[in-house]
Amino acid sequence: MTIKQLMAAVIMTGAAVSTAVLPASAETLRWARAGDSLTLDPHAQNEGPTHTLAHQMYEPLLHRDMAGQIIPALATDWAPTDDPNVWRFNLRKGVSFHDGSAFTADDVVFSLNRAMKPTSAMKELLSSVKEVRAVDDHTVDIETDGPNPLMPNNLTNLFIMDSGWTEANNCAEPQDIANGGDNPCVRAVNGTGAYVLVSRAQDEKTVLKANPNYWGIGQFPLDVSEIVYTPIQESATRVSALLSGEVDLIQDVPVQDLDRVATTDGLSVITAPQNRTIFFGLNVGDPDLTTDNVDGKNPLADVRVRQAMNIAINRDAIKKVVMRDQSKPTGVIMPPFVNGWTEALDAYPANDLAKAKQLMADAGYADGFGITLNCPNDRYINDEAICQAAVGMFGQIGIKVTLDAKPKAQHFPLIKNRETDFYMLGWGVPTFDSEYIFNFLAHTSTDKLGSWNGTRYSNPSLDEKIVSLASETDLSVRNATISEIWNTLQDEVIYLPIHHQVLNWGMRANIDFPVQPEDQPHFKFLKIKG
């Protein structure tokens, strides 16, 4: 009798607690994508799926919403101060971490300093920061070396940790993998975000539940009360899991299965352009190439050859045949969201074989030449197939291309070590600004800049303009410089743009959730219909 009463009491209180805590509709979202987060330490990896999971539990000062627009998170507003080198951030009040401790300016100072430590993977995004200062409990100043007009754009994935909790767990430094470092923050989370970590087994299953004390309750839909995240690497299995109703939402629907998912009752596919452009890079700088059959000179150094190659690519055919219409052909290596993008730049040249052959003849290569194209086969959507199609197109103007397709772990080192003369690369722009593209892809390769510029292209006057962007506070002057740089790059044709990738998410038809251009779902925005 007493036991029964006790049990009844327990059940009653349990019910009371759960009704008080949970939102009106208790919905579990089972979510799958190809990759898993690598670590729960928010500063240890700078990588998409890792940030996606972190965004559900940790929050930055500001972040990009589902449309890619910057919105406030832990900061309510921000502006440059009278000193052009200092940005001031006003912090949200009444926010607490999952363990109950209050969020203050000290946590921001601590977290940004942690992200700047040598073992952090996020330090490059803060390389211009000189000092982070707490002005009072809810105000933070960030001082940079010289004015940095785009400071806020760099903060969208810089998560704020609780200084007390992190220090108590001995992880004031991001983990140092090189020295056998390991820390408890890799396994546990104490953020301010909308979801709290319940359990996690890497590559297996991660369970999150709604944070009952989230500051954003009432401001965001928050229809999902529990998230069960399972990475499913094999695309056939991932699609099967969605078709059989074992998961509710998948990212990375393979293009060949789009129709199948879209025509299944109760499922829908949502499509949107991705913040990533696919293109070929050409070695224009070396006096001679190692992978071609022309002795003593570099055929790619001649701009007419590059122009010929650019118009030999039939981008519409690649879109139709290789990508099954899931791409947006382009004439510039910049996704449409980026500051500096114009329709004129994006317009791509018509496929014109007669003109291409004429240009080849003018350059002295009427009989063409042979060269090797290096391509990844597990990185971009249908990457190897795009290269195969391109091989045939270059063959039409006499360029005999040998395709060398490899896994990404072997392909990217070729570019970084400058061991390829002709390669495929895809580029996303997390800051949504052209400067990011110039810094990595157009600036002469130096210790600090041009790390992904595998073209060996070096133009000192262009470099000067690129460097000037970092500290130009007059936005109209800055945008004019960006436009000048693009004009030079378009004339030089050091890259051959192919297309912008398109993202496809498959989900239950009663889910109302737009596709985010950076492939970053923020589940606090997810709405359940009906």
Partner: protein, 328 residues
């Protein structure tokens, strides 16, 4: 016997050192972990620094000796991908793989031997011929296709069984096992069939042909003439004499089941060491790859040792010969 075991252990150690050396020589061709570790924004300077700190510039032999020295102290390094110690990662994943391999192995042996006996005894029967013909499918279809086919039939169309994952687990002497829960058992069915099908058909065909061989021998005829029952004849006389090659093959196959688990685990997102290894290869996670290859080496060496010892149990002639040769 003891000398035999000691000699085999010595050989095993040599095999493991060789495996480790060859894997180190291979890692150079696997690509470069720096890209994954550094992320897109890293500068050329960051890259050079990390390469130096990870010791990737050193000659292979230096890296190999350094690895062995640490491994002897039980330190297998930290996974580049997961950021936690390799020993911990592997110990978390190993039960899932061993469980799957064990269940698949059991299915393969039990059904393989039973069907093998059946098809040998009823060699001209319709059912036996049907089994023999359909067993060709098991031998010739790639694991990947079988897995996807089973998912398509039983998960997508019939909706009976889960298409991925290990389901719920419950502790069994401190080890989390899927067979301890109904949900876990359901999750085990498709992957273990996928993984064990090839081995089952192989064992079945082997048992059948060995059985047919034995059934033709004189002592079986005499036994039959003596009036022994078919049951005694088939199971205690014929079967026993077919077992030596079956044990050899089964042992090697059990090692292969663990190795083949890579494909099955990827198809079913089974969270075992095979999936871990595939991810390690994609990420160029050298510490995990090295430890996994060593582990597989140890498993193969152990299985071979056990198989050799089992011969003594099954075949009395071996015991007799050995004691004879080791005499004065």
């Amino acid at each position: 016997m003891l000398a035999f075991i000691i000699r085999r252990l010595g050989q095993a150690l040599f095999v493991l050192l060789t495996v480790a050396f060859f894997s180190f020589a291979m890692f150079k061709f696997m690509g470069d972990p720096l890209e994954n570790l550094l992320g897109q924004e890293a500068t050329n300077l960051d890259r050079a620094e990390l390469e130096e700190r990870l010791g990737l510039n050193d000659p292979i032999v230096v890296q190999y000796v350094r690895y062995l020295a640490r491994a002897l102290e039980g330190d297998f390094g930290v996974s580049y991908r997961a950021g936690i110690p390799v020993a911990e990662v592997i110990m978390q994943r190993l039960p899932a793989t061993l469980e799957l391999a064990f269940i698949s192995g059991m299915l393969a042996v039990v059904f393989g031997v039973l069907l093998g006996i059946y098809t040998a005894i009823r060699r001209d029967g319709f059912v036996a011929n049907l089994i023999m013909t359909s067993s060709l499918i098991g031998v010739s279809l790639p694991t990947f296709l079988i897995g996807v086919g089973l998912i398509w039939a039983f998960s997508v169309n019939l909706g009976w069984l889960p298409s991925f994952g290990r389901g719920d687990t419950a502790p069994f002497f401190g080890v989390e096992l899927a067979v301890m829960t109904w949900d876990g058992i359901q999750s085990l069915i498709l992957p273990s069939i996928t993984l064990g099908l090839y081995q089952m058909t192989l064992i079945m065909r082997l048992v059948r042909s060995e059985m047919l061989e034995v059934l033709r021998t004189d002592y079986i005829r005499f036994a039959r003439a003596r009036g022994l029952t078919d049951r005694a004849l088939h199971f205690s006389h014929a079967l026993r004499n077919t077992l030596v090659p079956v044990i050899t093959i089964t042992g090697v196959q059990l090692g292969l089941i663990i190795a083949f688990a890579i494909v099955t685990e990827t198809v079913f997102q089974w969270p075992g060491v095979g999936l871990l290894f595939i991810n390690a290869v994609n990420f160029v996670d050298i510490p995990v790859m090295a430890a996994y290859l060593l582990l597989v080496g140890i498993i193969f060496v152990t299985i071979n040792l056990v198989v050799d010892l089992l011969y003594f149990v099954v075949d009395p002639r071996l015991r007799a010969e050995r004691s004879g040769s080791e005499g004065p």
